[in-house]
């Protein structure tokens, strides 16, 4: 009897989670991929912001918990979606469909679906890291660009060759300094040797990328101080995983996608001149994943008139400015959207 009561309580508890009640939840599907979409926030505003997650392979499923997103949801509708073979996306798409063209076509289907479902006044694209790369690639087509009112690129990788060169350089300097100080010498000597043996990131395999990523994680990347924002969300916990749409695909999808989707030689610079809509570039001062030099690069190649282009290097922030400095982030994004909606 006690067991039955406990089970009923657990079921009731699970059905009460905001993950199951808030906003509109549906799926878009093409090329055998079934991608979850969560529209959350102020849909009455008529302003919809599509959040492109990073990776490739990460998720937007719990990003709503961050302070910056909750603030934006009060004024606008946020559209969280997981890309193919990323996050908790479903279906059974062939690995042959893990191409930039397919990711762009998925995003275009999402934009058209939002237009069909809500008839919004304006749609903004907001891309973080790889999501910024995807957003840039999407907007290089003039027909697709007409559907969007403005683009926010945060720590993006629109020129992966330059990104890897800058990022690897910072990590190499860190590794050499650590070796010179005699600090974790074996690990950092391996890093020095790795970069010496693999100078051209366009020829890296998935295993090479994973090795680089391990050095990146250990190279003292900037992380936000929880003391400054004591109520800030610290990342997914038990309730996010067990009381939400999240499945274990969150852990397995990237492992399938990344070895079959190499973006390390992707350079969108030649086509960025076709992008003329308003753009906000947000970069963290201490971003060693996508260093701030990428913001300068975007500024140089975008076709957006200077009056519609704003570049902000946010102090005391790393790769995710919306987590590291939410107040600055919110202020910049809201100013940009109000000016261009």
């Amino acid at each position: 009897m006690k067991l039955g009561t406990a089970v009923i309580l657990l079921i009731l508890l699970s059905s009460c989670s905001f993950y199951f009640t808030d906003g509109d939840y549906f799926f878009i599907s093409r090329e055998d991929a079934v991608l979850p979409v969560w529209v959350k926030g102020n849909t009455e505003s008529g302003v919809f912001i599509i959040f492109n997650h990073g990776g490739p392979g990460e998720t937007a499923s719990y990003v709503t918990n961050f302070k910056a997103m909750q603030a934006l949801e009060e004024d606008y509708a946020l559209v969280y979606w997981d890309q193919r073979c990323s996050g908790i996306s479903q279906g059974n798409p062939s690995t042959d469909s893990f191409t930039l063209e397919d990711f762009i076509a998925d995003l275009d289907l999402l934009v058209d679906t939002i237009e069909y479902q809500y008839s919004p006044n304006s749609i903004f694209l907001y891309g973080v890291s790889w999501g910024g790369t995807l957003g840039t690639a999407y907007l290089t087509d003039s027909i697709r660009q007409q559907k969007i009112s403005g683009f926010i690129e945060e720590g993006g990788g629109h020129n992966m060759v330059l990104l890897m060169e800058l990022s690897s350089g910072i990590i190499q300097d860190h590794a050499e300094a650590m070796v010179a100080e005699g600090n974790e010498t074996d690990f950092w000597q391996d890093a020095v040797d790795f970069f010496a043996a693999h100078p051209d990131s366009t020829e890296w395999t998935a295993e090479d990328y994973y090795e680089y990523a391990s050095y990146l994680r250990n190279a003292d990347p900037y992380t936000y101080e929880t003391d400054e924002y004591p109520d800030e969300y610290a990342g997914p916990g038990g309730s996010d995983i067990f009381l939400s749409p999240i499945s274990f695909a969150l852990f397995f999808n990237p492992g399938k996608l990344v070895p079959n989707f190499n973006i390390l030689s992707l350079n969108l610079n030649p086509d960025m001149g076709f992008i003329t809509l308003p753009v906000l570039l947000l970069w963290g001062e201490y971003d060693i994943n996508s260093p701030a030099g990428l913001a300068d690069n975007a500024e140089s190649f975008l076709g957006t008139p200077p009056a519609d282009l704003r570049k902000v290097i946010i102090p005391n922030a790393g790769h995710n400015t919306f987590i590291d400095q939410p107040d600055t982030f919110i202020s910049e994004v809201e100013t940009f959207i109000e000016a261009n909606k």
Binding site: L3, V7, L10, I11, L13, S14, S15, Y19, F20, Y25, F26, F27, I28, S29, R30, V34, P36, W38, C85, I88, S89, Q90, G91, N92, P93, S94, T95, L109, D112, T113, Y116, Q117, I241, F242, L243, S244, P245, I246, S247, F248, A249, F252, N253, K256, L257
Partner: protein
């Protein structure tokens, strides 16, 4: 992987090696099962089925289960399933038992929500999600309480924790943890007239 397979084989062999001496089974070899089935523990569903004991001794038994079930992972998917396999069960001196379930089956799955797609002319259409076939494999460890062969109520509450694999999922097999909690009812042996 080899170690896991070896462990499973060892547990099954241990079940057998524990000795089937007593073939004097007072009740039928057939049991009915009914359970709460929680994918990722909390996403609710149910299972119902039968178990047929193919071997039984004083401390161990081996059964073939057949169960059908359904669960809903809200805003993710729903799954219908039919599964069979083997259950090796070890009894302690007291009323407690532990078991190992290895199974395989067929699933029908659909996303839990409407689906939007584009037709050939580029128009957006929407439809309810349709069921698609899945191959399922299951491995679980369980424990339970047996009221005994002479008890008036031949019920055995049980609890299982395990994983089932769903294939294909983005061209690989996705693992789902689950908790199953229910009862097994041993049916009385039919009397010959």
């Amino acid at each position: 992987m080899k170690r896991i397979c070896s462990l499973i084989l060892f547990l099954l062999l241990f079940c057998f090696a524990s000795g089937w001496a007593d073939e004097n089974i007072p009740e039928s070899r057939l049991s009915l099962t009914a359970s709460y089935f929680g994918e990722m523990v909390l996403h609710p569903g149910f299972k119902a089925g039968i178990e047929y004991r193919i071997m039984e001794g004083k401390k161990a038994s081996l059964s073939v289960p057949l169960a059908a079930g359904w669960y809903r992972h809200i805003r993710n998917h729903q799954m219908l399933s039919v599964e069979s396999g083997l259950v090796g069960r070890l009894s302690s001196k007291g009323p407690f038992f532990s078991d190992l379930l290895l199974g395989a089956g067929y699933g029908l799955k659909k996303p839990d929500g409407s689906i939007y797609f584009e037709d050939e002319e580029g128009s957006i259409l929407t439809e309810s999600a349709s069921w698609t076939s899945r191959f399922l494999v299951t491995a679980a460890l369980g424990a339970g309480f047996d009221f005994g062969k002479n008890a008036r109520v031949k019920l055995s509450p049980f609890l299982r924790l395990g994983f089932f694999g769903e294939y294909p999922y983005n061209t690989y097999m996705l693992l789902h943890p689950f908790l199953e909690s229910g009862i097994r009812v041993r049916l009385p042996k039919a009397h010959k007239r």
